[in-house]
């Protein structure tokens, strides 16, 4: 177990290094930051001046090493647009996005777990078909389209919920439903497939033969086994939610990381874009590492096989 964990950790670190280098190069390779910085009415001299002040005239490798070294120390540089500390800026916006991602995951699990289990218990019944329909619609509906429709109905027409902002829990309801519904189908399918597989397996049949009640078989034995891949998927989905909330944050004017990322992209505010992309990548690497270790602990075959 320890060797597996160390190996896995080493891989995670390597991935982190490559990802940060990619994030840096990919974004730096395109576009001239100094121009965006100079603003309306700036002259060529001003732009050259800015290039020098911000060290944008040095070789890329030097810029990367300098940037990475500072990143590790928690110094994310200065925003080209806001002219403030990126660290503080990101820290300020992080909670909103983290909350949104967390709420969405909880919502998705709350919907997809019971539905997935019921669908597995009664395959091809009306409830199974309902789940399938919900899943298919969830996958086909563009999230921004869904968001706008919810906004019209619940905020403008019924006035039950606020339109936009992030001041209270009520502001999070609509975005949570949209994002949660977007990731729910995948979880639901996985729960359903896992449950069907486990219910058909020998030991559940044995348990049933021993006379255990249906409910305890489902809850104690089948569910626990079917949940293992769900935990892993949830970790991945959480990472996805953090990076994928750009559109929803923009629509609902939720002042989070996704919206900050979008702003920084349109303003060519490279330090902020790089910091967010790198940070989200690192969070993803961390989440998958944790999920893999948890899985290995739950399922000894993985750490022996080491493979997929």
């Amino acid at each position: 177990m320890l060797i597996y964990a160390l190996k896995r950790l080493g891989l995670a670190v390597l991935v982190a290094v490559v990802v940060s280098a990619l994030a840096f190069l990919l974004l730096r390779a395109s576009g001239d930051v100094a121009i965006a910085l100079a603003g309306e009415g700036a002259r060529s001299e001003d732009i050259d001046n800015i290039r020098r002040i911000y060290g944008l005239d040095r070789p890329l490798v030097v810029q990367y090493l300098d940037w990475a070294a500072k990143m590790i120390r928690g110094d994310f540089g200065t925003s080209l647009f806001f002219k403030t500390d990126v660290h503080a800026l990101v820290l300020d916006k992080m909670p909103t996005t983290a909350l949104l991602a967390l709420f969405s995951l909880i919502f998705a699990l709350a919907v997809s777990l019971p539905l997935g289990i019921l669908a597995a218990l009664y395959p091809n019944s009306w409830i199974d078909r309902l789940c399938l329909a919900l899943a298919v619609i969830g996958q086909a509906l563009p999230s921004f389209f869904f968001a706008l429709i919810l906004m019209i109905v619940f905020a403008v027409m019924l006035r039950w919920l606020p339109v936009s902002g992030s001041d209270s829990w009520a502001h999070f309801v609509l975005p949570t439903v949209v994002l949660g519904y977007y990731i729910a189908p995948a979880i639901m399918r996985l729960v359903r497939a896992g449950m069907i597989e486990v219910l058909a397996s020998d030991y559940v049949r044995t348990a049933r033969a021993k006379g255990l009640s249906s409910r305890s078989v489902v809850l104690k034995h089948a569910l626990r086994n079917a949940l293992v891949p769900v935990v892993a998927l949830s970790a991945v989905q959480l990472g996805f939610l953090l990076g994928g909330s750009v559109v929803i944050e923009t629509v609902f004017a939720l002042d989070g990381l996704g919206y900050l990322a979008f702003q920084s992209i349109t303003h060519k505010d490279l330090p902020v874009t790089q910091a967010i992309v790198t940070l989200l990548s690192l969070i993803y690497v961390g989440l998958t590492l944790a999920a893999d270790l948890a899985n290995a602990w739950l399922d000894p075959r993985i750490r022996v096989g080491g493979g997929s």
Binding site: V15, V19, Q139, P142, F144, F145, I196, V236
Partner: protein
């Protein structure tokens, strides 16, 4: 990796006989509906120049925002009404089908080529090759797709081909993951070993023996990826960093109609529905193929 585990890999090693397969296809309602809808949309896209009542680019500022026929003020000259520049909405929706299908197909081909090549290589050769490919996949998965796509499009400048290229180069991960796992299963089969023993070249074994056997999975992934590419383009266009006007992409049409949603709902509802139906159809086809080709039916 976690994602590899998360995607169920199907056991396709027992090939169904042709007759059985046909019966299954005919019995699968979802597949039939999906195929029917998709065929309809493809037909509409191909025939757009013939069936569109107007030039989708021809504007007339004096005929703006005419509602569709199911509204009181609608008329048959513009069955779906006109947009904010007086362009015929039906014609734009019809031509928009071309763009969404093109994006779905082109992204699918680009990412499919990259992902399949990587996945086949990793699954077939194993060892170091597998390690390197797995590493690539992990790195790719760690990058937040939408943000990177937005950032690249923002700097390069949005256009149809830029969007296709960016999404194609970013979305190969699922192809690689599934192809790798499927190839690993096929690799150990007798006839693959037999072909190798008979002295067939590696490339020949991969193309001639392995690829046909992983094809059903490939098709399933391809549909999922096509659907997701179409949605992603729509999201990019929605944020103003996708396909650029005057091209009638459905995503772009939604983006341009969003400010009209409170008073002229049809402007957003029509392309929104078209987009949802297309993605629905593609997904149904994918699900259907998965069910039909899996030995134990659905699930």
């Amino acid at each position: 990796m976690t994602d590899v585990a998360a995607i169920p890999v199907l056991d396709l090693t027992t090939a169904s006989s042709g007759k059985l397969l046909r019966r299954r296809i005919m019995a699968h309602r979802g597949l039939l509906i999906g195929t029917g809808l998709l065929a309809f949309i493809v037909l509409v896209a191909l025939l757009a120049p013939l069936i569109a009542p107007h030039d989708p680019y021809a504007q007339d500022l004096s005929r703006r925002m005419i509602p569709p026929i199911w509204y009181e003020k609608g008329n048959w000259v513009h069955p779906f009404g006109t947009d904010n520049l007086g362009r015929d909405y039906l014609s734009r929706v019809l031509y928009g089908a071309q763009i969404s299908l093109l994006i779905g197909a082109a992204v699918m081909v680009i990412s499919g080529l990259i992902g399949t090549a990587l996945g086949l290589a990793a699954g077939f050769f194993g060892g170091r090759v597998d390690m390197v490919v797995t590493f690539f996949i992990t790195v790719r998965l760690a990058l937040p797709l939408i943000l990177v796509a937005l950032a690249v499009v923002a700097t390069v400048g949005g256009s149809l081909w830029v969007v296709i290229l960016v999404l194609g180069l970013l979305k190969w991960d699922r192809f690689a993951v599934v192809m790798r796992a499927a190839t690993q299963q096929v690799r150990v089969l007798d006839y693959v070993a037999a072909a190798e023993a008979a002295g067939a070249s590696t490339l020949r074994v991969i193309v001639g023996e392995v690829l046909p056997n992983v094809l059903p999975q490939l098709v399933v992934v391809a549909t999922v990826e096509a659907a997701s590419a179409i949605l992603l383009e729509a999201a990019l266009s929605f944020l103003g960093l996708g396909v650029q006007p005057p091209l009638p992409s459905w995503g772009l049409m939604i983006a341009e109609a969003k400010t009209y949603m409170f008073f002229s709902f049809w402007l957003i509802a029509i392309p929104g529905t078209a987009l949802a139906v297309l993605v629905f159809a593609v997904n149904m086809v994918g699900d259907g193929i998965r069910d039909v080709s899996a030995p134990a039916g659905r699930g």
